[in-house]
């Protein structure tokens, strides 16, 4: 059982950190550091743009109703995990993990339409915001209750193991979710069953208004893992290479039949809990400190320093993403609302 890595030095971030973890990538089988940087940058920037449009534009214009939750500042976690997942693997994202959908090929069109309750959305207007899944793409939708996905992810992993599949499961959740009984039951079951699943915690240090120290009396989420006989690892969640590498290693263990792992990604929620919450309970200095650690800016520095991209190329990527978003919003706004006559369809197979 791997010991819990101390977290201290990781959080004292320095400019070279991403470069250092990029170098470590060479030791892990999978994408090259350059590929991680380029693809990671694109998907993180795309997530940021799509979520900015949703939260700061469409929501404020009244075009999106209901709850809006974004992953601003923590994109490296879902994108890093998404890059480590193989196409056939199963994904259990949570409510700030839009990047995981994007890496798997869900389009901004489908996402904007989902948020606007249109038929072109992933749930055809039945559901809103991040409550979306697509079985064909092996993305499982959350229910709202935090941590409810954990035992479900364990079950998918148990089935895959039973079927002799090479596929594994990736399940992401927040720090707050680890307080729920479902979390503990699911983690324990997965571990007892040596189910091929990678549990990934985005520890953004707040659950709604509740700071970590009111959520748990241990220092790290990863501290919970040894009690379940599972390796727990702590990584810098704002470093896409670090996330990728840790997830890749855990995926290797899962595929090798060694069972589940818990990876705690230290990060920060650079927004209130949701679009209607300004987050004024967060001490001012935390916003400032964590703004410095923006995962997108960090990977851009690495790209430039390593000569993998020029400033012009990065600008062109951002311009392309903005165009993609413009086009996708226009498409989504043209997608109709579901017809009220379909209200009772699909409660059961074939029901009308």
């Amino acid at each position: 059982m791997a010991a819990v890595k101390p977290v201290g030095p990781l959080l004292v971030e320095h400019a070279g950190a991403s470069r250092a973890t990029a170098a470590e990538t060479d030791a892990v089988e999978g994408l090259s550091p350059e590929e991680i940087a380029l693809r990671g940058h694109y998907y993180m920037a795309l997530q940021r743009e799509v979520e900015d449009r949703i939260e700061r534009k469409l929501y404020r214009q009244g075009k999106i109703l209901g709850g809006v939750y974004v992953g601003r500042g923590q994109e490296a976690i879902c994108v890093g995990a998404g890059l480590a997942a193989e196409e056939e693997d199963w994904l259990y994202p949570c409510h700030r993990d839009l990047g995981l959908y994007l890496v798997r090929g869900v389009t901004p069109r489908e996402i904007f339409a989902q948020y606007m309750g249109r038929v072109g959305g992933l749930t055809r207007g039945r559901e809103g915001n991040m409550h979306m899944g697509d079985l064909k793409r092996r993305i499982v939708a959350i229910i709202s209750a935090m941590a409810a996905s954990v035992p479900v992810a364990a079950g998918t992993a148990m089935a895959l193991k039973f079927q002799g599949s090479r596929q594994i499961v990736f399940n992401i959740f927040g720090d707050g979710a680890t307080s729920r009984g479902d979390w503990h039951e699911g983690i324990n079951l997965a571990s007892v069953q040596k189910a091929p699943v990678v549990f990934i915690c985005n520890n953004n240090q707040y659950a709604y208004s509740t700071p970590l120290e009111k959520q748990m009396a241990c220092e790290h989420v990863a501290d919970r893992a040894p009690g379940y006989g599972m390796p727990g690892e702590i990584v810098d969640g704002n470093d896409v290479f670090a996330v990728y590498n840790a997830v890749q290693r855990a995926a290797g263990r899962a595929r090798a039949g060694q069972g589940p792992s818990l990876i705690e990604c230290k990060t920060f929620r650079m927004t209130g809990h949701s679009a209607h919450d300004g987050g004024d309970y967060v001490p001012e200095h935390l916003w400032r400190e964590w703004a410095e650690k923006c995962p997108i800016q960090r990977v851009e520095r690495t790209l430039l320093e390593c000569g993998w991209a020029s400033r012009e190329e990065l600008d062109a990527t951002h311009a392309r993403i903005r165009r993609e978003a413009d086009e996708a919003i226009a498409w989504a706004e043209n997608s109709p609302y579901p017809d009220p006559s379909t209200l009772t369809h699909d409660v059961y197979e074939g029901s009308r």
Binding site: L65, G66, G67, G117, R118, T123, G125, R126, E127, G128, N129, H131, I143, S144, A145, M146, A147, G176, A177, S179, R180, G181, D182, A207, Y208, S209, T210, K214, Q215, M216, Y281, Y337, P338, D339, P340, T342, L343, T344, V347
Partner: protein, 324 residues
């Protein structure tokens, strides 16, 4: 008397009980510094301190379990579910522990579980449900859902003072939409007693929560057509005020049972059965139910609109009943 919102009335009810009785305390997620997702407990941390406004981890089962345990030790906990949709996470503690403890070993559990419920706020399947029927079929619990500010405060006080576990549903749509006069002096509204919201002659509408206001809207329109609705606001769903239900039905001879919860297994079935058993001879028409269809609560506005009972749907049913 001051006019306050339904939300403020609930807040005052809890606040005054906490002032009156040091054994009353609140426990839930984000209720302290943040003042609760809907701001019901706003300012209470400053007034009552962390011992009595207890912020918890995301642990509904532990919140209710701890409330039960504290009630055994002489406290009167008010536990908050951030949304009633998450009350499912505490289901076992509520229906198996709290509800049965008095009957099994004579250990009362005087606690209140507050649960913001209901749709019409674009919340989708997990922020819009009306789960009252799950609890109405659990002997040992009391189930309350006020429709007005006056009742919200008075029922909250009664719920806190009651010596049995009370599930207190608060309709989210009413929080800021409904206002009413609330006395500054101490008063309570008894549990288990319905209230005549509107007197009428032709059709007894038996309802509660947000649907009281929907029925009122329909009554205004129907009055112009010469159809007079009587509206009975149940206020407490368990125990049911059968006497008040039967009195209204016998007076009007036609009954419409209305709720926002879905139809099958909703409390409307129970009410309509009791009317059939006990007021059959007085009826001039079948007892009619109007409720949400048997589907999850959809997100897209046109779907949600089709899902929720509204004044037009009440009018349609009432016209049918009147013409029967």
């Amino acid at each position: 008397m001051a006019e306050v919102t339904y939300l403020e009335a609930i807040r005052q009810g809890i606040w005054e009980e906490m002032e009156r009785d040091a054994s009353v305390f609140c426990i839930g997620e984000d209720i302290g510094v943040y003042g609760g997702a809907f701001k019901i407990t706003k300012g209470m941390l400053q007034r009552f301190g962390e011992q009595r406004i207890v912020d918890t981890p995301i642990s509904e089962s532990a919140i209710v379990g701890a409330a039960i345990g504290a009630s055994f030790a002489g406290m009167r906990p008010v536990a908050e579910m951030q949304f009633s949709d998450f009350i499912t996470c505490a289901f076992d503690q509520i229906v198996n522990f709290a509800a049965k403890t008095r009957y099994r070993w004579n250990a009362p559990a005087p606690l209140v579980v507050r649960a913001p419920s209901g749709g019409g706020i674009h919340g989708g399947p997990y922020h819009s449900q009306n789960p009252e029927a799950w609890f109405v079929k659990t002997p040992g619990l009391k189930v309350v859902e006020p429709a007005t500010a006056y009742d919200a405060k008075g029922l909250m006080k009664s719920a806190i003072r009651d010596n049995d576990p009370v599930i207190f549903f608060e309709h989210k749509k009413l929080y800021r939409a409904v206002k009413g006069e609330v006395p500054a002096s101490d008063y309570t509204v008894p549990l288990g007693k319905a209230r005549l919201h509107r007197e009428g002659k032709h059709i007894a509408v038996i309802t509660y929560g947000a649907m009281v206001h929907v029925a009122s809207e329909a009554a205004t329109v129907l009055e112009r057509e010469g159809v007079s609705l009587e509206i009975l606001d149940l206020r407490t769903l368990l125990p049911l005020d059968e006497e008040a239900i039967l009195a209204s039905v016998k007076k009007c001879s036609r009954a419409l049972v209305l709720h926002e919860d879905t139809l099958t297994g909703g409390i409307g079935g129970e009410i309509s059965a009791r009317i059939s058993e006990k007021a059959f001879e007085w009826l001039d028409a079948p007892v009619v139910r109007l409720a949400a269809p048997d589907t999850p609560v959809p997100f897209a506005p046109p779907l949600e609109q089709a899902f929720l009972p509204d004044a037009n749907k009440v009018i349609e049913k009432a016209r049918w009943l009147a013409a029967y």
